[in-house]
Amino acid sequence: MMKEKITILNENGLHALPASRFVKTAEKFKGDVTLIKDGVEVSGKSIMGILTLACEKGSTVVLTCNGVDEKNMMKALKRILEGQD
């Protein structure tokens, strides 16, 4: 299991568009993914869950990836949260 604290650097926070990109990317991997913000945990494969976290630019989340492909998954998802993708 991999866990990392990440600051959302995406221009507008995790709005619908980046959130859907996040989910689409997450779905390409076998492992499980969760996002935790202010003690609330949601599945990283659920756009509705991610939206309810209301992640604005500059907020921090804990990203957890768990599974056989967790390393690549972490890398790909981190890029989206940091607005590099």
Binding site: E11, N12, G13, H15, A16, L17, S20, V23, V42, S43, K45, S46, I47, M48, G49, L51, T52, A54, E56
Partner: protein, 582 residues
């Protein structure tokens, strides 16, 4: 007969509609809790799966229609809705709970999405709060499908209706049929709402933001919508009905008579070509520009890209829109104006006493380089089509244009170093719309490739009149000699520096003004698409020496009224053929 009542709202889509009020209410879906016998649980989850699948088919077909009729850019909200519908977490939760609690699908689904909607509505960020509407737009669709209810009665609205609603959801707005729906009035929504964009794209007159509309209007009563003035009239008097009927007939007759001019080249009788181009706000309006015979987009207002999202669109999102517009308009020119936004629109915590004299447009962009750079990069990338020009609004000092050019050079270098393609010779121009810019236009002309005179703001700033203020709006007159003299000065300054000069305010479409503007030497007139055929008709009647004579004399009058009287007289004498369209 009850007395006539007039209700004021926000004018979002032009035109006049007189029809029968059709109150459009999304029927509240009532969800009951029913126990399900164990043997039927599998069937219940199947029923849910099918309702979701049906909903998805509906959303995809709506998306297809929007793509075709309104524009791909606008269909994006449906991507998010489809993903919300397909959310595996929700589908799993609903299935599990149906089986565990032995309850009916609509009850469980309603509970599950209510939870999400509640959490979202507690967010402090406006953007996230507004997604609640998307959740319910999708959620209601699923519930109606589960219950076997028909939705979107908006498709089946009878011919001749004026739709009266509290609000129209985005996916429903996209289904409106202009054959049946004469006009739209709603309590919610503003100039950048989905309803505004859709009605304008479909050319349905619309007025939004009318208070207490639903409680006042009765189904089946006669109403008039005036989409130019932004009013709804209940129980119109026979005089009022006649007035609008005559106005509409006249408008239609004129439009019909002018239709052939859409196709004709914009040339004066003695052969001078004047660019007649279109001002547009939304991508989808390029179809109107082409339909009415525009030779390009003289002003693409990019604010709406921002306002409809309430967030800065990414470089990629902007590029897609600019690029698509440039491609569809080829071989004609597209002038993209950078954000003309007030600071309060971008930073919710920012407020000021005097927004028109405040931190807006280029002033914001120069202070927020990151924000500005994204837009410049996107426009430059689209310039690879070779028909894009960039324009900057609200210039009031020479330093500003020097700074802009420096920034532009930096951004171009950045793109070149990334080997991203753009047009190295892309033309750069400014809006001349402040008296200060007009008075130093000789210097500004040395730094740019073109001027476009923003006559609305130029009038407002020159006369010191806020046209939105009803008490003084009579003082707003773009025929004021001060304004005309400034236009002359700007045009001369541009031509002395061998750059072209256009005008993109309402003055450009004013039939009385066209001979004057041509006489002053303007090279381009940009206006709302529907005004183009008339402008061409007028243009094709004019001769340059006569117009120049008119312009020369018009500069010396004392009042706007004197100028207008003079213009009428001269047109009567020199171009009687256009008196009928004044």
């Amino acid at each position: 007969m009850p007395r006539e009542r007039i209700h004021k709202g926000i004018a979002v889509s032009k035109g006049i509609a007189h029809g029968t009020a059709f109150k459009y209410e999304t029927k509240k879906v009532e969800v009951f809790q029913t126990p399900i016998l164990s043997v039927y649980l599998h069937e219940e989850t199947e029923r849910f799966r099918k309702a979701v699948a049906k909903t998805k088919r509906e959303l995809l077909s709506i998306q297809k229609r929007i793509n075709e009729e309104i524009g791909e850019d606008f269909a994006q909200f449906l991507d998010a809705q489809i993903m919300m519908l397909d959310d595996k977490e929700i589908l799993r939760k609903v299935k599990e709970r149906i089986i565990k609690e032995k309850k009916n699908a609509e009850y469980v689904y309603n509970q599950v999405i209510s939870d999400y909607a509640k959490k979202l509505s507690q967010s402090k960020d406006q953007y996230f709060q507004e997604r609640v509407a998307d959740i319910w737009d999708v959620g209601m669709r699923v519930l109606r499908n589960l219950l076997g209810l028909t939705h979107s009665s908006i498709i089946d609205i009878p011919v001749g209706s004026v739709v009266i609603a509290h609000d129209i959801s985005p996916s429903e707005a996209a289904l409106m049929n202009p054959e049946n729906i004469l006009g739209v009035a709603a309590e919610a929504g503003g100039r950048t709402s989905h309803t505004a964009i859709t009605t304008r794209a479909l050319e349905i007159p619309a007025v939004l933001g009318i208070e207490n509309l639903m409680s006042r209007v009765k189904n089946g009563e006669s109403v008039i919508i005036d989409g130019d003035r932004g009013i709804l009239i209940r129980h119109p008097s026979s005089g009022r009905i006649n007035y609008y009927r005559t106005a509409k007939k006249k408008e239609e007759k004129l439009a019909e008579a002018l239709t052939p001019y859409c196709e004709l080249p914009p040339k004066t009788r003695d052969g001078r070509h004047i660019d007649i181009s279109a001002n547009i706000e939304f991508f989808s309006e390029y179809t109107h520009a082409l339909k009415y015979g525009a030779e390009g987009i003289g002003l693409f207002r990019t604010e709406f890209l921002y306002l409809t999202r309430r967030a800065n669109p990414t470089e990629e999102e902007q590029y897609r829109v600019y690029n698509a517009l440039a491609q569809r308009m080829k071989p004609h020119t597209v002038i993209i104006r950078t954000y003309d936004l007030g600071g309060d629109k971008i930073f919710s915590e920012y407020h000021e006493a005097n927004p028109f004299l405040g931190w807006r447009a280029i002033r914001v962009c120069l202070d927020e380089p990151e924000f500005f750079n994204i837009q410049l990069r996107a426009i430059l990338r689209a310039s690879i089509n070779k028909n894009v020009k960039i324009m900057f609004p609200m210039i009031s000092t020479y330093e500003e244009i020097r700074r802009i050019n420096l920034i532009l050079r930096k951004v171009k270098k950045e793109l070149a170093s990334e080997e991203t393609a753009f047009d190295k010779d892309v033309q750069v121009g400014i809006m001349v719309e402040t008296p200060s810019a007009a008075l130093v236009s000789t210097h500004l002309a040395q730094e740019v490739d073109f001027f476009s005179i923003g006559s609305n703001d130029l009038t407002q700033y020159t006369l010191g009149v806020d046209r939105g203020n009803e008490k003084i709006s009579k003082l707003f007159d773009h025929f004021h000699p001060a304004v005309i003299n400034l236009i002359k000065r700007i045009t001369d300054a541009g031509h002395d520096a061998h750059i072209w000069v256009g005008l993109c305010g309402e003055l450009a479409a004013d039939p009385l003004a066209i001979p004057l503007l041509i006489g002053l030497g303007l090279d381009e007139l940009s206006m709302s698409p529907a005004s183009i055929p008339r402008a061409k008709m007028i243009l094709r009647t004019l001769t340059i020496p006569d117009c120049e004579e008119i312009a020369q004399a018009a500069l010396d009058f004392r009042t706007a009224l004197e100028v207008k009287r003079f213009l009428r007289r001269e047109i009567h004498k020199k171009f009687p053929g256009i008196e009928g369209v004044l």
